[in-house]
Symmetry: C2
Subunit: 362 residues, 2 copies
C-alpha cells in the first residue's frame, strides 16, 4: 500500500487571460487530495471515493473504461471522478511498463470539487504518484505533472490547462504562459478562501470571454490588461524574500491591490457572479489586503489575502458563502505520505532529493 | 413669480475616465428640481428648501454670501445648498444686469441629494432660468448651461465638471469630452435607478483613480478602455432611431452589455462598493439589460436598463437599496413651469423655439 497527496490551487492572478497566451500565476494551497493505492493480484481496479462531495461511492471494474459500473450516485459525477482515476491508472501503468497492473484505490480530498481549486488535478497527480510508487517506480514531480496533464487532457477532451496539474505536482507559486510552466519564488502567502457551494459552467464562461474578445476591441484590451497585472505581480514576487517567515505588509498590500484590480477586470469580462462579488466585498470589508474570484468564475470560490482571522469570520457570516477556510501557500507539491510497504523504511531514508524537488520550502 | 424645473442625470457611460480627456455620455432623467422665484422689493434673498433630504430649512439673508444665517440644521449642508443658490442668484443678477435684485426662492427636488444624480446642477440650472425670467430676461439653454457651470465651478472650488449642468440644461443624451459638450440623439431609454441612501466621497474617489492611473500602466490602460466603450456606445446610439417609440431590443441588449463592462472597469478602478455591486447584481438577475454604478461611486446610485417593472421590484427587495425608481430619459432639459405673472399668457405663446431647444422630443 502506498499513500500520496497533492495540493489544490488558487489563481493569484491571470485566469481566463491565460487562454489567450497571457501569463498566469496559480499557487498551490494547503488543501490536499490523498490517494491510497494497493496493488492487486489481478488486473481489476477497485475505487473507493470519500469526501468528494459525492457522499462517497465504491465501484469495481476491469481495467478498461469500456465497462461502466452500476452505482447509486448521479452518473455524470461518477463518470467524471472515475474518468480521472482511470486516466491516472493508465498513466501509471504506462510509466511502470505494467499494462496489466490492478489496484485497490481510495481517494480522499479536502478540496471542494468543481470549485476551481484544482481538485481533479490533485487527485490525478497524487494517484499517479502513489500507483507508480506501488509498482516500484519513482517519477520526478515534473514527469508526474506531464503525465497528469495528459490524463486531464484525455478526460477533458483536449480542454485541459497545464496550470492545475503542474501547480499541484510542483507546489508553491508557479508561472504558466502557454505550454511554458515554471516554479517561481513566493513568500508564505496567507490565503483565505470562500466557497459559495456552487460552480460555474467553465465551458460557457470561457466561450463567453472568447466571444466578447472577438467582438470588441475593448474586451481584447481588457484581456491584455490582465496580462499586464500578472507581469507586475510577478515582479513583486520576484523582489520579495521567499525565505521570510511572513511576507512584509507592503508586499501583501500591493498584491492585494492587484488582486482587486484583476477581479474588476474579470467582472468586466462577465465571469463574476452575485455570490462571488458578495464574498469579495465581505473579505475586503473584513480587512483583507485584496480579494478576487479564482478559476473560471460564475460561482465557486474567491481567494483573499489576510493573515488575521477576520476575513474567515466575515465570510462565515456572509449569506451565500457555504464554506470559508484558511489555505496557506503549499510549498510542497505531490508527496508520498506512506511509502510502499515492501521497503518503506529504506525508501524514506534514501529519498532526500525527491522530497526537496516538490517545493521551495527550506 | 416664476417656476422653472430642470432634470437630474445618470452616466450611461464614462464617469471618472472623462476626467482624463475620454468622452462620456450622461443622460438627463425624469427626476427634476423645481425652483420658484418671486422678485422682492429689496435686495434680500430668502430661501426655502423642501425635499432636499434636509427636512427643509428656511433662511433669510442679504445678497452677499458673507453673512451666514443661524438655522437649526447641520451647517455644512446649509452651506452647500445655499452656496449653490447664492451662486445661481449671482449669475441671474449678472445676466439681467440687476445687481441689487432680491428674491424669495423655494427649492423642491425629487432628485436624491449627493447621490451622483446631478441634483445641485439641476437646482442651479432651474434657479438661473427662473430668476432671469423673473427679471424679464430669457436665456438660451446653452447660456444657462454655461452660467450654471460657472456657478458650480465657484462653489466647488474649480472641481466642477461641465457634464451635469450641460446635461440638465439641454436634456436628452449628451456627449462630453473635455470642455466640448454637445447633445446627441438617443431613443427613450428605460432607466431604472437604485439608491443606497449614501454617497461616496467624490474627492477621495477621484484622487484614488488618479493615483492608480499614475502608478500603474494597467490602470491607465483601463481608463483608456472606458473611453473605448464610450466611443462604441456612441456609435450604437448614432445608429439608432431617436424617434422610435421604444428602443429595439438589440440596442438595449448591446448598450446593457457595455454598461456591465463599464461597471467592471470602474470596479477595477476601485470606485464601486458592496451596496452598489449588490444592486447591480439584483438588477441583472431581475432581467435588466445591463447595470452599472453612476457618478463618482463608493456608494450612491446604480443605473440599469429595463422596460419591465422587474428590476425596480427586485431593487426594492435588495438589502442596502433604500430607494428604487424608474426615471426615463428626460428629453426636455430646463423648462419654465409657470411663466412670470406679468405677462404669463403672452410668454407662453411666443416661446415655441425656447421649448424645442431644450431637448430632442418631437
Amino acid at each position: 500500500m502506498t499513500v500520496s497527496s497533492a495540493p489544490g490551487k488558487v489563481y493569484l492572478f491571470g485566469e481566463h487571460a491565460v487562454v489567450y497566451g497571457e501569463p498566469a500565476v496559480p499557487c498551490a494551497v494547503e488543501r490536499r487530495a490523498t490517494v491510497t493505492v494497493a496493488a492487486r493480484d489481478d488486473d481489476h481496479v477497485r475505487v473507493r471515493a470519500e469526501d468528494l462531495s459525492l457522499n462517497g461511492f465504491t465501484v469495481e471494474y476491469r481495467g478498461s473504461t469500456g465497462d461502466r459500473p452500476d452505482v447509486d450516485v448521479p452518473a455524470p459525477l461518477v463518470e467524471a471522478a472515475m474518468g480521472y482515476i482511470d486516466a491516472a491508472v493508465d498513466q501509471a501503468r504506462e510509466a511502470a511498463d505494467a499494462p496489466d497492473a490492478g489496484f485497490d484505490i481510495t481517494v480522499e480530498s479536502d478540496i471542494p470539487l468543481g470549485a476551481g481549486l484544482g481538485s481533479s488535478a490533485a487527485v490525478v497527480v497524487a494517484g499517479i504518484d502513489a500507483a507508480t510508487r506501488e509498482l516500484g517506480v519513482e517519477l520526478a514531480p515534473r514527469e508526474i505533472a506531464e503525465r497528469a496533464y495528459r490524463a486531464e487532457h484525455e478526460v477533458q477532451d483536449g480542454q485541459a490547462s497545464r496550470a492545475d496539474t503542474f501547480c499541484s505536482a510542483m507546489g508553491g507559486a508557479v508561472r504558466v504562459e502557454g505550454d511554458d510552466c515554471r516554479t517561481i519564488d513566493a513568500p508564505p502567502l496567507p490565503f483565505v478562501i470562500g466557497f459559495d457551494g456552487g460552480a460555474g459552467d467553465t465551458g460557457a464562461l470561457v466561450s463567453g470571454v472568447r466571444a466578447l474578445r472577438e467582438e470588441y476591441d475593448f474586451a481584447a484590451d481588457t484581456v491584455s490588461t490582465v496580462g499586464d497585472i500578472v507581469r507586475r505581480g510577478e515582479e513583486l514576487l520576484a523582489e520579495s524574500d521567499p525565505d521570510a517567515d511572513e511576507p512584509p505588509e507592503e508586499l501583501l498590500s500591493e498584491l492585494g491591490r492587484f488582486m482587486n484590480f484583476n477581479h474588476g477586470l474579470l467582472e468586466a469580462l462577465g465571469v463574476s457572479s452575485r455570490s462571488l462579488d458578495s464574498m469579495v466585498w465581505a473579505a475586503r470589508e473584513a480587512g483583507a489586503y485584496g480579494a478576487k474570484l479564482t478559476g473560471a468564475g460564475g460561482g465557486g470560490c474567491i481567494v483573499s489575502l489576510d493573515p488575521t482571522p477576520e476575513t474567515q469570520t466575515a465570510l462565515r457570516f456572509t449569506p451565500g458563502c457555504e464554506d470559508a477556510f484558511r489555505a496557506e501557500l503549499a510549498t510542497e507539491g505531490v508527496r508520498v505520505e506512506v511509502p510502499p510497504e515492501a521497503d518503506a523504511e529504506a525508501e524514506a531514508e534514501t529519498d532526500p532529493e525527491r522530497e526537496g524537488d516538490g517545493g521551495n520550502s527550506a
